[in-house]
Symmetry: D3
């Protein structure tokens, strides 16, 4: 019964309901395949973070996107 | 001085201000009763997560609610 | 079905098994009392952190304890 | 570039190096398949938590295992 | 390549884009100065939490602000 | 009063007590400089994670180090 939490940047209008369903399923299956433990209680929590609030190498992703554009 | 963080699904319009006050008090008291440590600096952080972003057993809570309904 | 996680300093030999059992029960009950939701799947995770790795006001708890002693 | 963190109970001597390698790969691939984003910087962090420090439904996993045994 | 996450109360309209840029830079530099490790992949995630959802000493920050006012 | 948490790989015998003291101070000061808020209650928590349990791009840091060596 793991807790799997995902933090990702919120981009292009955000992850769709379908993407979040697929991701939840796949992450849970991945765990199940590796550990062969019961996952009926496995929890997946997905958090989307504004690109203003997520920085890589000291630069917000908002700025990284601008530089690249 | 613990940090207690709560992640819960956002349901039925979300937790009310009063529920969050009560929860903060009770969690802090629980810690105090067990460890008898100072809790004047104890932190409680409550995060409500969309039922689309919270999955149990690989199924989002949004879908679990639908199946049950 | 909340996830409640507790981060606390590891002191005096650490929390005992009994304290961790009591804390888990009380935190879960607190949530149940406030929200009246099912808690049979509620998760409590307790993490004890070395006082060298936990700082308050920019000072590690190890040093705070020394100054007070 | 997501951060995927896994908290799981430490059981039967703990996850092996190989299991952790496989899990890291599979979780990263799952994300990649769903979002089609670059994952060369995706981070996976696996934390194993003592069964004394992990409770479900207010009962530590250590105790749950005993009751079942 | 550390992950640095900041949880802070959302106050006075929230942190500005500029403050979040500055904070990301400074936190990353701090890490770099102390450990002298590569930080081009260092991640900073900033989360602002409603003062209703953040409690200190069992009292929500919303209430603490009121009492002081 | 922020909570700043740092997750980093445990390498070369781990961060020293002095490094953790410095990091705690610098991170707290960084926050103070940007937001000009009281930081006497700011919390810094540093977690060092085994290179077997920390993966980048789907590869554990243990393996990344080997490939480079």
């Amino acid at each position: 019964m793991p807790i799997i939490s995902v933090k990702m940047t919120h981009e292009d209008g955000g992850a769709t309901k379908e993407q979040k369903e697929m991701l939840s399923k796949k992450l849970t299956q991945s765990f199940q395949e590796v550990f062969n433990r019961k996952t009926n209680n496995a929890v997946v929590i997905i958090e989307e973070v504004s690109t203003d609030n997520y920085a890589i190498g000291g630069e917000t992703v908002s700025n990284i996107r601008k530089i690249k554009a």
